[in-house]
């Protein structure tokens, strides 16, 4: 198989996550290959966001393995901060640092973590802002940006760390409809540039177009996975069929 020659960026093995007594993730295993775009869909409360947050250790995993670029993130001997430098994350609610302007948002981590000098970081930041079409907003405070602009800045902020992997946690769910397109456009470009991406989203059209693989997660496990065609057009699992019929019928 060709797949065996591809580089595994994220290896997930029998992942479990519980909050107290309630188990949210009940054994997920999958591999994300270099340059692959994996879209995770599923009903709310299915554990898909939790799954994503386990991939960079924002949620402590209960059992199982998550190996990112060869580093086991649950291993106390591994420096989780070093691993995270390589894994960008974009949140549903943007989470731009409210006390800093756009430029500072983008340069804070690279400078603080000594990945770049102030000048280099600024240069990278301007370049990334250009990529998301917001070069003129460098001096603005986050509160003065629209939702779509905030999310594009958030993507640029993650990119400033020059990550190998990008995680997206429902990046368009908090946006007004007319702003969704601009964010998806940036993500499409990123995918086209070969970024490894794991995206939790409800944008089925986007998944259809951009995903290499779609995971349908429900009740804490992967119910169905395959190409967008397989999962979204010709779902085999009744749960997937039920979910899609609810999402797509408006």
């Amino acid at each position: 198989m060709v797949e065996e020659e591809r580089n595994v960026k994220i290896h997930v093995e029998n992942l479990h996550k519980s909050y107290g007594k309630s188990e949210v993730i009940k054994g997920i295993s999958t591999d994300v290959y270099e340059g692959e775009v994996v879209v995770v869909i599923g009903p709310s409360g299915s554990g898909k966001s939790t799954f994503l947050r386990c991939l960079n250790g924002l949620e402590e995993i209960t059992s199982g393995k998550v190996i990112v670029d060869g580093h086991n993130i649950a291993d106390k001997k591994e420096n989780i901060n070093k691993i995270r430098e390589n894994v960008g994350m974009v949140f549903q609610h943007f989470n731009l640092f409210a006390n800093m302007n756009v430029l500072r948002n983008l340069t804070l981590a690279p400078v603080d973590l000594k990945k770049a000098t102030k000048e280099q970081a600024k240069e990278t930041a301007i370049e990334m802002l250009g990529r998301v079409g917001l070069a003129e907003k460098a001096d603005e405070l986050p509160e003065n940006l629209s939702g779509g602009q905030k999310q594009r800045v958030a993507i640029a902020r993650a990119l400033c760390m020059k990550p190998d992997i990008m995680l997206f946690d429902e990046p368009t769910s908090a946006l007004d409809p007319e702003m969704i397109g601009e964010v998806l456009q940036v993500m499409k470009q990123l995918a086209a540039d070969g970024m490894t991406m794991v995206i939790v989203t409800h944008e089925m059209g986007f998944a259809m177009e951009v995903a290499d693989r779609v995971l349908f997660v429900d009740a804490g496990i992967i119910m169905e996975e395959g190409t967008p065609e397989e999962v979204l057009k010709y779902p085999q699992n009744p749960r997937t069929q039920d979910f899609l019929s609810k999402v797509l019928e408006i």
Partner: protein, 225 residues
């Protein structure tokens, strides 16, 4: 009234100086305690959280006058009788300890609430970029939290300043203590308490003005940043 001011004015002003000295010391140490215990209450460590909550609850649950008596009379008595420590506390030392313990407990709560008022997403975003907890705290969370805390902190400063009057009971020569002396001599309680009240009022109004100016400056900085 005029006579009281001319004869005892200087004495009352000096007493106000002592009040301010005590308040300043209490606030300074109180702030340190508040920051330490406030941080202990927000970090992800059960033992730290419990230590902080015990401190806050004990201090909040004991009237300051009791705390003052305990620190000034009780503790040295116990140390000397049971351990023959030969220890004495001046009223200023005991007063500072009480005020700092008291102020620190409330400041700790203000700091905890201030930090918890900041959306957890701010810390998560910082962590997701590879920043450590403490860098995220100092770079992202605290600068925002402090802005939210300022009104409560000013309020606590004012309360602490007024609380110094309680320490008249351990004989510290602050304003209320001296006012009682003046009344003992002159029997003019209406005039003396009126003067003392006005003195407190003036100092506190001044403090509020300073705080307002500070707040304005911080907010101006925000628009520039």
């Amino acid at each position: 009234m005029a006579q009281i001011i001319t004869v005892y004015g200087m004495l009352l002003l000096k007493a106000m100086g002592q009040t301010l000295l005590l308040a300043l010391l209490g606030l300074a140490f109180g702030c340190v305690l508040g920051i330490v215990f406030g941080m202990l209450s927000v970090v992800k460590n059960k033992a730290c959280n419990i230590i902080s909550s015990i401190y806050v609850n004990v201090i909040r649950g004991v009237p300051m006058i009791v705390l003052a008596m305990f620190v000034y009379f009780g503790v040295p008595y116990a140390l000397n009788n049971f351990f023959h420590a030969g220890m004495t506390l001046t009223a200023l030392q005991a007063g500072t300890i009480c005020l700092a313990l008291n102020c620190g407990a409330y400041m700790s709560e203000i700091i905890r609430a201030g930090i918890q008022s900041i959306d957890v997403g701010q810390m998560e975003a910082a962590r997701s970029l590879g920043l450590t907890y403490w860098r995220g705290m100092f770079r992202v969370v605290l600068p925002q939290a402090i802005r939210n805390m300022i009104p409560s902190i000013v309020n606590q400063f004012i309360i602490t300043l007024k609380d110094t009057s309680i320490l008249s009971v351990i004989g510290f020569p602050e304003l209320v203590n001296k006012a009682q002396n003046v009344i003992a001599i002159t029997f003019k309680s209406f005039q003396v308490w009126l003067i003392v009240g006005i003195m407190y009022l003036i100092v506190i109004l001044l403090m509020q003005q300073v705080a307002k100016a500070l707040e304005r400056r911080l907010n101006r900085g925000r628009r520039r940043a």
